[in-house]
Every structure is written in structure tokens, then in C-alpha cells.
């Protein structure tokens, strides 16, 4: 069950992902332990060899020690490779799993969610936050474990070599993790400033390129460069600040640790002179102090990864916990359209107190067509969003073939009512793929060509270098706003749904093309209907019914003449647009 799975994830994300891939995780840990043990042993072997050399034992014995040393190093090579592979698998798979989980969840949420959360922020959630979560449960856990294991191995060895040396040389060491956490925080803060300056820089560059015509027209190139230099230099300063902390990091830390080696010289001299400690031991001990640099760093780094990962996971959790406002719980499948009835439908956005729609009622039967008119902000788009279940219905009822729309499966509802939205959104795929977007597979070339012919786009597409296979988007061809809009109409037409809804899409189309689209619609299955939102009277010439909205309320509905009689809004439109459409 989805929800219990989520509950497990929220309770302990680390444990959740360890359990998702227990083999990789435990093998990774095992090999890490082996690696660290071997790593702990090798200075001892080296020290022994040195002592043998000092004592001038026969070369054979020295050779034996060297062989042992070589074997230790060789095994180290193997175990290092193994832990990296296994551990890498564990956190890479975890990252992939979480990324998909978030994507699947976000795509189930309605447009209301996207009003609240900007796409840029969600992108950063799916990339940066998932990444820093992985950093925490992967490398974060790893280096913490690594550090702790190493300390657990090195410290006893050092103590066994010489207890008083150990505490005297390592006395400053515990400060290192705290120092690192502090520095990491400082880096983070400065980095954030740097990012902000970078956005400003991008902003100015963007406006300069976007407004190049104005800049050139008014010969402002020099001034514009001066302005750019200002933000550019602010960015440089922010970078320098990051660089300073960055540059301090390693030397200070290294010094913090190697100070131990200096202390060693002072504390070791008596033992060395008295001969209580051999040179080999001294060398090995010196090596161990150097080796303590990493575990101390690891503790600091590990904790700061954890902090960042936790903050990221909180953000991820918040999104995953957002319930969809348009749950798809319906069970009724509808296959054809008979009637549509709005009963006292009102709607306001969650965050607002103002009603966008107030008490809207109307009916539409199969075969009829409906035109909706009204000024900007009258609630036209909201009405269509409610009908296609992009917005949740909260007050009133919408009945399709007598069923409440909440009881109908979203898939069959949207296969019956197809909305071509106002904003012409296309995907960075080829033109033919875009037109076939709603179909199971790719439509045949004939049909695609016919559809583009209908929306008067065929000629323009034929003139593109790759015709119907031309890629769209930032990296492909740029279509004009009108061309895009017409393409979205073709994408809708090809679906041949019982009801086609055009939200102001016809504004990009001339009257001749409008007629062609109508004719195309008439060809689809019997009982087809249209709902058209438009500003031009000519677009609504042939509709059976008009619905005039104003401030969310139905000002009038009925035939052209009926509406003209009672609706001041409509009267004004007719007056401004001059000619009366020939109406039958």
C-alpha cells in the first residue's frame, strides 16, 4: 500500500533505504571495515621493517616483512574497490527510487498545487534536494562510519604503542570536527550569497539579450555593459569570499592535526634517547597521527552532510505529504456523451475568499454547441477546469450523463471532454509527435497532414527543414505564438472526442480556418459537441447557445437573440465589434 510505504519512509528514510538494498549496504560496510583494518595495520608492518633494518637483521627476514607489507597493500586494493562498488550501488539506487517517487507523486497533483509551487522550486527539489539526501544517506553515512571505524582501530593501536604519546599528541584533535562543521556552515552561507549574485548576473544578461533591439535602437550598449559590470563585480566579490573560506579549510585543518606531529617530537625525544622506543615505532606513530586527519575530518563532514540531507528531506516530505485535491476515485466509465449539467456550481481558490464562479447552472445536450463569452476574469477558464477535473468541485454539482463527475474515472471523463487550454504548451519533440500526443501511438502521416491542413498550418510546416519531423523547443525550431496555438488545436482535433472544448484558442485563427475546423469537427462521431470560449463574435457564429459570464456569474444564457436582449456585456461586445454575425 502506498501510504504505509510512505509512512515507513518518513519514519526513518535511512533505514528505509538500507532495507531496500540490504545486500549492497551490508557488503559495502563489511568491505569498509576490512579496508580500515588493513589500513590500520600497514604502518605497523612498515615500522617493523624499519626496526629490522636498523637492527641490521639478515636481508631474508627483511624480505619476509616486505612481502607481508606487499600482501597487506594488495588486499587493500581489493577491499577498497569492493566497498566503493557495493556502497555506490546502495545510494545510487536509493536516489533513483526517491526521484521516481517524487515525480509520480507530483504528476498526480492538480494545477492548484502548481500555482503555489513554482516549477523552478520543484525542479530543485527533484535534483538538488534528492542529491543532498543521497549525499546524507550515502557518502554521509559512509564517512561517518569510516571515521568511527578508523578511530576505533587506530586509537587502540596508538595507545598500545605508547599511551602517554597518544593523549599528548591527540589533545587538540576533538576540536577538529566542530571546526569543520563551523567552516562548512560558513561555506554554505557564503555560497548562498554567491548563488544570489549569480541569479542577478543572469537576470541582467537575460534582459540585455532579450531587449537587444531596444538597446541597439537607443545606442545603449556602453551603458548596458557598465550595468552588467556592476553585477559582475558584485558576483566576483561573492566568489572571492567563498574562495577565502574554501582556501582556509584545508590548511587550517591540516595544521590542527599535524600540530600533533610537532608535539610528538617534544614528547618522544626522551623515550627515543633512552631507547625505550624504537625508531620504527616512532615512525609508525608519526604515520598514525597523520592518519587521524581523515577520521576527524570525516566526522565533521559527515555531520554537515546529515544536516543538509535532513533539511532537504523535510522539503521532500512536505511535497510527498501533499494530498491531491483531485483524487481519481470514480468507478464509472463513460463512453459517450449524452448530457452535461452544471447545478449551482460555485468555486473559490483555497487561499482566497473571493468567488471566481457563483451559482452557475446550465445544461448541454449531445449535438449542441455552447459559446462562452465574458471579460477577462469572468471565470470562463475556471469553469472549464472544473468540468475537466483539473480543479476540485466544492460547491454545487456537475452531472455528466446523469452521473456526478467525481464518480466518473478521470481517464474516461477526459476522453469524453477534451480541453484545448488557452496557453499553447508544446513539448520538445517533433511536430508529428506533438500532434499525436494524446493517442496511443503515432498517428499516420496522412491524418497528421490532414489535421494541420485543417488548422492552416500545413504550408508553414512544409517549409521547415525537417517538415513534420522538425523538433520544437529551445533547441529546435521556434514557432510563432499563433502557429503554436494552431498546433494545439490540431492536437485536440485528432482525438475526435465527443466534446471538444476550445479555451480562446481560436483567437489565432482566421475565419476561413475557423470554418475548416468546424467542418472537421462535424465529421466525427454523431452527437459531437463543442464548447468554445472566444472574444470574437465571428468565432461564435454557429453555436446553438451562448453563456455570458461576468464576475463569475451567469449574466445571460440562451440563443443569440435572447442573450442580446438581456446582457449588457454582450450588447457592448456587439457594439464594439460592429458587424453582426450572420446568424441562423
Amino acid at each position: 500500500m502506498q501510504s504505509s510505504d510512505n509512512a515507513r519512509l518518513f519514519k526513518s528514510p535511512l533505514w528505509y533505504y538500507i532495507r531496500n538494498n540490504p545486500r549492497a549496504f551490508s557488503l559495502g560496510m563489511l568491505f569498509l571495515l576490512l579496508t580500515n583494518s588493513l589500513d590500520g595495520i600497514y604502518p605497523l608492518v612498515m615500522g617493523k621493517a624499519l626496526d629490522q633494518i636498523t637492527a641490521q637483521v639478515p636481508m631474508n627476514d627483511i624480505a619476509k616483512t616486505c612481502l607481508i607489507f606487499f600482501i597487506v597493500m594488495l588486499s587493500l586494493a581489493g577491499t577498497r574497490m569492493a566497498w566503493r562498488s557495493f556502497f555506490g550501488k546502495y545510494h545510487t539506487y536509493a536516489q533513483e527510487h526517491l526521484r521516481q517517487k517524487i515525480f509520480n507523486h507530483i504528476t498526480s497533483l492538480g494545477p492548484n498545487f502548481f500555482h503555489k509551487n513554482q516549477v523552478g522550486e520543484l525542479m530543485s527539489l527533484l535534483t538538488n534536494d534528492v542529491q543532498s539526501f543521497r549525499q546524507a544517506i550515502g557518502p554521509g553515512v559512509l564517512i561517518l562510519a569510516d571515521g568511527l571505524i578508523l578511530i576505533a582501530i587506530l586509537l587502540p593501536i596508538m595507545i598500545s604503542l605508547n599511551f602517554s604519546w597518544t593523549w599528548k599528541t591527540l589533545i587538540f584533535l576533538p576540536a577538529v570536527p566542530f571546526l569543520i562543521m563551523k567552516v562548512m556552515k560558513l561555506i554554505h552561507v557564503n555560497y548562498k550569497t554567491q548563488q544570489d549574485r549569480f541569479s542577478e548576473l543572469t537576470g541582467v544578461a537575460q534582459e540585455t539579450v532579450g531587449g537587444i533591439r531596444v538597446i541597439k535602437s537607443f545606442a545603449q550598449e556602453g551603458n548596458r555593459t557598465a550595468l552588467f559590470n556592476g553585477v559582475s563585480s558584485a558576483f566576483e566579490k561573492a566568489c572571492n569570499k567563498v574562495a577565502k573560506v574554501d582556501a582556509l579549510f584545508m590548511p587550517v585543518m591540516e595544521f590542527g592535526v599535524t600540530s600533533g606531529s610537532v608535539i610528538l617530537l617534544f614528547v618522544a625525544k626522551d623515550d627515543l634517547y633512552s631507547g625505550a622506543v624504537t625508531i620504527g615505532t616512532f615512525f609508525a606513530f608519526h604515520r598514525y597521527i597523520q592518519k587521524m586527519v581523515w577520521p576527524m575530518t570525516a566526522l565533521g563532514l559527515g555531520f554537515s552532510y546529515f544536516q543538509k540531507g535532513t533539511a532537504s528531506f523535510e522539503r521532500i516530505k512536505e511535497v510527498l505529504q501533499t494530498e491531491t485535491d483531485i483524487p481519481d476515485n470514480g468507478t464509472i466509465e463513460i463512453t459517450k456523451f449524452e448530457t452535461l449539467e452544471f447545478k449551482n456550481v460555485s468555486y473559490k481558490h483555497k487561499s482566497s475568499t473571493v468567488y471566481v464562479l457563483k451559482d452557475v447552472s446550465f445544461t448541454l445536450r449531445a449535438g449542441e454547441s455552447l459559446g462562452i463569452m465574458g471579460p477577462v476574469g469572468a471565470g470562463k477558464t475556471t469553469l472549464l477546469h472544473l468540468l475537466t477535473r483539473l480543479y476540485p468541485l466544492e460547491e454545487g454539482q456537475i452531472l455528466v450523463n446523469g452521473h456526478r463527475i467525481e464518480d466518473i474515472t478521470q481517464e474516461s471523463l477526459r476522453k469524453t471532454f477534451l480541453l484545448v487550454p488557452q496557453e499553447a504548451f508544446l513539448f520538445s519533440e517533433s511536430i508529428s509527435e506533438n500532434i499525436s500526443f494524446g493517442l496511443e501511438g503515432r498517428a499516420s502521416a496522412d491524418i497528421i497532414e490532414k489535421m494541420t491542413e485543417t488548422v492552416d498550418l500545413n504550408r508553414e510546416i512544409q517549409s521547415l527543414p525537417h517538415q513534420f519531423e522538425s523538433q520544437l523547443g529551445e533547441r529546435g525550431v521556434n514557432l510563432s505564438g499563433g502557429q503554436k496555438q494552431r498546433l494545439t488545436i490540431a492536437r485536440g482535433l485528432i482525438m475526435r472526442t465527443p466534446v471538444l472544448i476550445l479555451d480562446d484558442s481560436l483567437s489565432a485563427v482566421d475565419t476561413r480556418t475557423e470554418k475548416a475546423i468546424e467542418a472537421e469537427l462535424a465529421k466525427s462521431a454523431s452527437g459531437f459537441s463543442r464548447i468554445i470560449v472566444a472574444h470574437r463574435l465571428s468565432s461564435l457564429k454557429t453555436v446553438d447557445k451562448l453563456l455570458i459570464l461576468r464576475d463569475g456569474e451567469v449574466e445571460a444564457q440562451g440563443t443569440y437573440q435572447q442573450v442580446l436582449g438581456v446582457s449588457p456585456t454582450f450588447q457592448k461586445i456587439v457594439q464594439i465589434q460592429g458587424q453582426e454575425p450572420t446568424h441562423e
Partner: protein, 605 residues
């Protein structure tokens, strides 16, 4: 660049190599020579201090412990402390100075790029998406910086460290150094081979990541369409494929990195073991003191880490060379061409003459303007009428020298335009476009464009004259009120008024006005009509007009069709002629707008 490889932009193997990179960056680096020298000195200082430490310890063992000289040992301990402090200082200075140097260099580079981009011809902007140009100026420069600071500098300073280690080893015992490093070429060769593999995987990884990001961005931006067309399930499946594919590439890079480990470890094992064994032999012959052997072993262990670092950075930043290449490609774009010995007219009366002007954008494209001959008197107002594609926009672009007309076809006050510098021409010929770009900031800076030559007073006056000030006052705002990106918080009409005020503030001698077709509420419509009269007053004005009311106000009307001048005359004259203009005007007589699409139908009917 051809359009065919646009999808593979990130994939194209670059032709830029490190030497090319240095050569092209040198002009910017040269300006900060002193920083560079200090940084290099710091690297050398750090490396020297680092190498002195093993010597010191070896010396302490031989002359202090073995020779039982108590005093020397204490002195050496203090010397050790001093060296450690020195090394830390040098290391800090090295990293910090190089960063300062790099950041300064990037600043110069950005300035140069910005300067360059703004002087590229308009065609460049028409065929290159804004996002791509912006990326060059920002992200690519940043990537180049990373390549420089983390790649080049690391490789350089670590290389110095390696050199110092090898020298230190050779000084202690060149025989031992030779023996222990004899296998180095094999291991370096093997890891170079592997690191090339890693580089390819990293490149693939980057490509797959950008595919994923593009897919996410698109699906979230187009979520409505995805849901309305029942594509959610299918797109989730698609995403899963992308995501799993990316994961698998990630795993390949993890395995490749893991495979790098044994190579390094094996190398470590071979060098240290042979140093130990042969060092033992030498020591037994008494040709190597124990302290020196110890110092040698310390040096051997310092050999591997810098080598590993170089190899890692090398792969990582090979890919960033693509960023460098893109920047250099942009830099190599040709700027707007200017003749030498230009003329600089001080005052322009506004006499505009076109003689036998034919124009095509490129040699193999059809002519957009055909044999145009026109003469406008100073102070005259002209309405330019024609449907989309008739050549109106091309015509005005030529007047502002956004494109170059053939020589001696366009004259201002009798001087051919190609003899006048572009900047100069644009000072004298002002344009109000249909959709005027509005900058983020405030209203004042949108009118004065931040030009120090435009005084606050001029801006204020421009706003008064256009009637914009009244509108501002009524809505409780002033010149410092904020303006959002692209003027999103202003109405279409208001943006138009800002453009008008801009023109008045800059006060050009010749005005070109592309009338907006967009629907404007009736109130702004009225203000704009008045403002139009105001700004055309007393200067030669060419108006691409859509509203009959505007056309009627002009002194003369020029009708363009398919690049040819069809009719020229006053409103009354042309109405009488009952030609193209007559059809035009009568079609739109009932409505305030002549829509291009309607006009098109009419003329075809």
C-alpha cells in the same frame, strides 16, 4: 553552426585543447600578472616547505637520536613547527591567490563577452534562442572558471608537488628513487587509459542528466496538458526509463572510479615495498643512514595523493572544455560591419530618400523589397500600410541599419546611411516597436534606460507630454515605482506609453512607430492617440499603422504589397483612386481595427 547538431550540443567532442585554451585566455590573464606571479610563488613555497619536513625529521633521527645530540633535536622540533606553519600559510595563499586571479580573469572575460554580444548583428539574435546566449555569458563562463580554478590550478600545483617529491627522493638517494619509481610509467599509463574511459562515462552522465531535467521541466510546466490528454501514466513510464537509464550510467561511473583504486593502491604497494626492501639493502651496506631512509619513505608516500588528484581532475574537466569552446565560438561571431572614414552629421533635418532599393536577406532567398523609390520631406508624417510580409518591418530595419541596405540606396539628409556609424544613426532615428521590451527595475530607468546623458528633468517632461504622468498620479505611483520582469505588472497600454516617453526623452530627429495591434482598453487607447500626435510633432515620422484613425492623420500614405510600393498619396487622393488602399480602408471602415488576417482575405477574395 548548422541546425542539425543542436540536439548534440553537449556531446560534440571539442576541438579546444589545453594549449588553445591558454592561448585564448592569456590576454585576460596578462592583465593580472602580479596576482599570477604571487600565486605561483606560493605554490613553490608550499612545495619546498612540504619537502623540507621529511628532511628535517630524517636529520633529527640521524643527528639527534642516533648521534645522541639532545640540543639539535629540540631545535629541529621547533624548526618542524615553523615549517608546518609556513606550509599552511603558503597553501592558503596559493589557493586563495589563484582564486582571486581566476575570478578577476572571468570578470574581464564576461565584460568582453557582453560588449561583444551587444555588437552582433540582429540576425544573430533572431536565429539564436535567448537562453543559449545567456548561458554562454553566465553558466559557460562559470564552468570555464571551475575548469580553471579546480582543474588547471590543481593540476599545476599538484604537478609542482610531484616534481618536488621526485627531486627530494633523488637528493636522498637517486638509486633508490630510480628503483622505486621505475614502474611509475606503467601505472600512470594504465590510469590514464581508465581516466579516459571515465571521462566518456561522465559525458554520458551529463547528457542523461540534462535529458532528465528537460523532461521534468517540460512535464511540470505542461502538467495540465499531460493530465488532460491522459498521458500521466505513460509519461511516468517514460520517466522511469530515463531515470533507470541515468542510474545505470551512474553505476558505470562508480565501477570505473572503483577500478581506479586498485591501480593506485598497487602502485603504492610496489613503490613503498621496493623502497623498503632496497632501502634496507642500501642501509645494510651503510650507504644510507636510517634517518634518510625514513625521510625517503615519507616522500614516497607523498607521491601518490597528488598524482591521484591530477588524474581525477583531468577527467572531470576535460568535459568543461566544451564550455570553453562555446564561449570562443561566440567570440568569433562577426560584429556588425562598419566602413572606415565615416561621416558624423551634427544636425539632421530629417530628409529621407530611398533610391532603387531592392533587398534580400540572403543571396538565395527571394527579394523582400523590390525597387523602392521614396522621398520624405523633413517634418513629414508617413503612414506605411500593408499586410504581414509586405516588407514593412524590413523597411524600418534598414533605416536603423539593423540590416545593411545595398550601397547608395538609403540617404539621410543626402548622406548614404552606410557612411554614418550605426550608433550615430540610432541616435537620430528612434523606433517605437509594437511590443517594446520593458526592463525590470523602475519606471524612470525604463524611460531613461540608465543613460547618464538623459536627465531626470527630460524624463519628467517626457512623461508629462505623453500624459503618462497623469496616469501614474491617478494610480498612486511615481517614476520610482517598481517594474517587474518584462513589465508584467503593467498593462499593454502602459508599456506603450513608456515606449513613447522613452522616445521623447531621447528626442530623435526621425521617428519610426510600429503601431500596436493588441487590444488596449479604451481609456489607454485615448491617451495613446493623443501621445502619438505629440511625439510625431515636428519630426519626420514613419508610422506602420493599423488603425484607420491613425492613418488618416498622416500627411501621406505609402501602400506596400509584396515588397513593392503600390500607391503613394494622401488619404483623400488614395480613396479617390479606388485602388488597394480604398479596399483596405472600406473593409475596416466599420471596425476600428484592420486585422491583417482579414485584410488578407479581402485581397484574395
Amino acid at each position: 553552426m548548422s541546425n542539425d547538431n543542436f540536439m548534440n550540443e553537449d556531446l560534440v567532442k571539442t576541438k579546444v585543447t589545453y594549449p588553445v585554451l591558454f592561448k585564448r585566455l592569456w590576454p585576460y590573464a596578462r592583465r593580472e600578472k602580479s596576482l599570477l606571479i604571487f600565486a605561483v610563488l606560493a605554490v613553490a613555497g608550499g612545495a619546498t616547505a612540504g619537502r623540507l619536513i621529511p628532511f628535517l625529521l630524517g636529520y633529527a633521527i640521524d643527528h639527534g637520536v642516533v648521534a645522541k645530540d639532545y640540543g639539535i633535536f629540540i631545535k629541529l622540533a621547533w624548526g618542524y613547527l615553523a615549517l608546518e606553519v609556513l606550509r599552511s600559510c603558503f597553501n592558503f595563499a596559493n589557493i586563495y591567490l589563484f582564486q582571486l586571479f581566476g575570478n578577476r580573469m572571468l570578470y574581464h572575460l564576461r565584460e568582453e563577452l557582453m560588449n561583444h554580444v551587444q555588437r552582433l548583428p540582429l540576425q544573430f539574435f533572431n536565429k539564436t534562442p535567448t537562453g543559449r546566449i545567456v548561458t554562454r555569458l553566465t553558466n559557460d563562463v562559470a564552468a570555464l572558471g571551475e575548469l580553471f580554478s579546480e582543474g588547471v590550478i590543481t593540476v599545476f600545483s599538484q604537478f609542482i608537488v610531484i616534481c618536488s617529491v621526485v627531486i627530494a627522493m633523488a637528493v636522498i638517494s637517486w638509486k633508490l628513487a630510480l628503483i622505486s619509481l621505475i614502474s611509475a610509467p606503467i601505472f600512470i599509463g594504465a590510469s590514464l587509459y581508465l581516466s579516459n574511459k571515465i571521462r566518456d562515462i561522465l559525458r554520458e552522465q551529463k547528457k542523461k542528466l540534462s535529458l532528465i531535467n528537460a523532461f521534468i521541466a517540460e512535464n511540470l510546466n505542461g502538467i495540465k496538458v499531460v493530465q488532460l490528454y491522459n498521458r500521466v501514466k505513460r509519461n511516468r513510464q517514460k520517466f522511469e526509463n530515463l531515470s533507470v537509464d541515468y542510474r545505470n550510467t551512474n553505476m558505470r561511473s562508480i565501477y570505473a572510479y572503483a577500478a581506479m583504486q586498485p591501480i593506485m593502491n598497487l602502485f603504492n604497494a610496489v613503490t613503498i615495498t621496493s623502497a623498503l626492501y632496497f632501502g634496507g639493502l642500501l642501509s645494510a651496506e651503510n650507504s644510507l643512514a636510517i634517518g634518510s631512509l625514513l625521510a625517503f619513505l615519507m616522500n614516497v608516500q607523498d607521491f601518490i595523493p597528488p598524482l591521484r588528484e591530477i588524474l581525477e581532475k583531468y577527467q572531470q574537466f576535460q568535459n568543461s572544455l566544451t564550455s570553453a569552446e562555446r564561449i570562443f565560438t561566440l567570440m568569433d561571431e562577426h560584429r556588425e560591419f562598419e566602413l572606415e572614414n565615416l561621416q558624423k552629421p551634427e544636425l539632421i533635418r530629417g530628409d529621407l530618400e530611398i533610391r532603387n532599393l531592392s533587398f534580400q536577406y540572403e543571396a538565395n532567398l527571394p527579394f523582400v523589397l523590390k525597387n523602392v523609390n521614396l522621398h520624405f520631406q523633413p517634418g513629414e508624417s508617413i503612414a506605411l500600410v500593408g499586410r504581414t510580409g509586405s516588407g514593412k518591418s524590413t523597411f524600418i530595419s534598414l533605416l536603423q541599419r539593423f540590416y545593411d541596405a545595398p550601397e547608395k540606396t538609403v540617404f539621410i539628409d543626402g548622406i548614404p546611411v552606410e557612411r554614418i556609424a550605426r550608433e550615430e544613426i540610432r541616435h537620430h532615428v528612434g523606433v517605437v516597436q509594437q511590443d517594446n521590451f520593458i526592463f525590470r527595475g523602475n519606471i524612470r530607468d525604463n524611460i531613461g534606460l540608465g543613460d547618464p546623458k538623459i536627465s531626470e528633468d527630460q524624463i519628467r517632461k517626457a512623461c508629462e507630454t505623453t500624459g503618462y504622468m497623469r496616469l501614474l498620479k491617478r494610480t498612486g505611483r511615481d517614476l520610482l515605482s517598481p517594474v517587474d520582469e518584462r513589465g508584467a505588472n503593467l498593462s499593454v497600454g502602459e508599456r506603450q506609453l513608456i515606449a513613447f516617453a522613452r522616445i521623447l526623452a531621447f528626442n530623435p530627429d526621425i521617428l519610426i512607430l510600429d503601431e500596436a495591434t493588441a487590444n488596449i482598453d479604451s481609456e489607454s487607447e485615448h491617451i495613446i492617440q493623443e501621445a502619438t500626435k505629440e511625439i510625431t510633432k515636428g519630426r519626420t515620422s514613419i508610422i506602420i499603422a493599423h488603425r484607420l484613425s491613425t492613418i488618416e492623420q498622416c500627411d501621406r500614405i505609402v501602400v506596400l504589397n509584396q515588397g513593392e510600393v503600390m500607391e503613394v498619396g494622401t488619404h483623400a487622393e488614395l480613396m479617390k483612386a479606388q485602388g488597394m488602399y480604398y479596399q483596405f480602408a472600406s473593409a475596416g471602415a466599420k471596425s476600428p481595427l484592420i486585422e491583417d488576417s482579414k485584410a488578407e482575405q479581402k485581397s484574395e477574395a
